[in-house]
């Protein structure tokens, strides 16, 4: 096999060329450059100069840095509380359905395909703080509200997370559904012989079987929520009173919203710090859970 093709090295190179050029210029080179840039003072006018750890020091001493980190962690925590149990619950119920199976999953997945910009702009309208806003009207029917939603520092972040969860949950539901269908039904039969109730079966058969996939979706959700940009950017732009400024918004702010010209070095330094944190976090996570997640 190998001999007849390797003789024709030139055509192999032709087929590899798109990959090498596109990945080289738009992936491998920028990744390396991010590391280099974080130690440089870069603007588009004068050639970059080495500044050591200055960029990192500047980021760390920025009063907004602490705010952005705690906001991002708060966002991740809320996304976990809102977004982690609901898809699992939905998937377990949906996998038991005997009619309209396709309808359940199509409805659950629909928000995922709506462009995020459309969802955010639409939800921003739903979150209208006046008593005539869509959500306030609906809550008014049961005597609640009106709530300020995005306009109050206390409720702005939960409002954003609610929309982000709505937009993303469908994808996780589909992953869980596929995993639920792979649980061998013999295990349920065997559990029944031992007199297991429905709850016993869920707790002792279903969940242990989903353990591997649950660990993976958890870490994927963490990585995704740490990098969320469109939602806070379009909902609030970081306000009110910086209560929704996330790390990503801060990076954007450093690089593209600076009146003095972009501080690309600081933006790169913060990106590298976020990536390093996510990398270390993921590694520790897999190391800690290595013994639990091997079951499936």
């Amino acid at each position: 096999m190998r001999t007849w093709v390797s003789r024709d090295g030139l055509s192999t190179l032709v087929f590899l060329l798109p990959l090498l050029v596109i990945f080289g210029v738009f992936s491998w080179f920028p990744i390396g450059r991010a590391l280099v840039m974080s130690f440089q003072e870069t603007n588009l006018v004068s050639p970059p100069t080495w500044v050591g750890l200055n960029n990192f020091a500047n980021v760390l001493s920025d009063p907004l840095f602490g705010t952005a980190v705690s906001n991002t962690l708060y966002f991740m925590l809320l996304a976990l509380i809102f977004g982690y149990p609901i898809p699992l619950l939905l998937a377990v119920v949906m996998s038991e359905a005997r009619h309209f199976k396709g309808l359940y999953s199509a409805l659950a997945y629909l928000p995922v395909v709506i462009p995020p910009v459309v969802s955010v702009l639409l939800w921003r309208f739903f979150y209208d703080a006046s008593p005539n806003g869509v959500f306030n009207t609906m809550l008014g029917w049961v005597g609640l509200g009106p709530f300020p939603w995005l306009q109050d520092p206390g409720t702005a972040m939960p409002s954003i997370v609610l929309e982000a969860t709505w937009a993303a949950a469908g994808g996780t539901v589909i992953i869980y559904l596929a995993a639920l269908l792979s649980v061998p039904t013999e295990l349920y039969d065997a559990a029944e012989v031992d007199g297991a109730s429905i709850w016993n079966k869920i707790w002792h058969v279903t969940l242990p079987h989903l353990r591997g996939i649950l660990f993976i979706t958890l870490i994927l959700q963490f990585i995704a929520t740490a990098q969320l940009f469109t939602e806070p950017f379009l909902f609030t732009g970081g306000g009110p009173a910086n209560s929704t400024t996330t790390v990503l918004l801060l990076i954007y702010h450093y690089a593209f919203q600076n009146s003095l010209g972009g501080d690309y070095g600081m933006a790169a330094a913060l990106s590298v710090m976020l990536a390093a944190f996510l990398g270390v976090f993921t590694a520790v996570y897999f190391w800690l859970t290595r013994s639990w997640s091997t079951s499936s």
Binding site: M1, V5, S6, D8, S11, T12, L13, F15, L16, P18, L19, F23, S27, W28, F29, P30, R33, A34, L44, S95, E96, A97, L103, A106, L107, Y109, L110, P111, V112, V113, I114, P115, P116, V117, V118, L121, L122, N132, V134, G171, T172, I175, L177, L181, V183, T185, D189, I198, K201, T206, L220, Q227, T230, A255, Y264, A268, L274, A275, L278, G279
Partner: protein, 306 residues
Amino acid sequence: MMSRLAKRRRRRAPDVERRIVSIADWHRPAIRRTLRTIHGVTLAFLFVVGLGPLLWLAKSAITPTQDTLRTPMALWPHGFDLSFLVTAWTETHIDHYFMNTVWIVVGCWLVQITVATSAAYALSVLRPRFGSLIMALVLATLFVPSIVLLVPLYLTVVNVPFLNISMIDTFWAVWLPAGASAFNIVIMKRFFDSLPREIFEAARVDGAGPFRLFWSIVLPMSRPIVGVVSVFAVIGEWKDYLWPLLVLRNPDLQPLSVRLPTLEPSTQLDIFLAALLISSVIPIALFLIFQRMFLRGSGLSGAIKG
């Protein structure tokens, strides 16, 4: 080939197959009633949450602004008017931005498919000596969060290495980086790996060179996977916001997703909502047509691309 597999699987697992609740339990009236209730409630919940916002958008796109503002939950208190959709399409130049989105998506799709099929063919069928090293480098990019790329990629596009040209305010700035998708290459290569080697061997004996083999044998055989990658590529690029916002500063070139937030303050509400509806029609239509593809567990791609 895939559809035959799917059919066989379906036959083996008919609808009445049990899952957590046993067949015997399903025959017990109390349990059946409870389950029916739970399923009814879940279905109603999914209708409200999954379809509700879209239905509201569709309704509001054809009702007057004042109705939408004063009584957002009422059904057509003062009739409806399809003219908002027409006005949005023509007078706010949504048609122009819509076509920008289409051009961007088509170009990105073409680049992604070209890179993924040629690379997968080289790595899976031609197998160059450094193939495994290249594959490892491609896989490594999967583990680098996309945020790391944002600023250096922007600077790369501002001044492309070796060429010293700027791609800012050209569609190339969106098209070319889209090709660097490790996910595409991984699933494409996995599919090519599963193609029977005897066919390649036979084609070679018949005198087919590497190009002929690629064009007349491998590509036609990989239609299913090209379809999957295409649909995900089109929907993914249609949803993109941050990158086109950064590299397309000229409003004439911006896609709908980038224009919509800037249009909002200056546009009448009903027309703006009509514009929102117009920009979600294509991805929703694609989803409804290719539902199977999305709902068969391949939704993982979205999670990974994040």
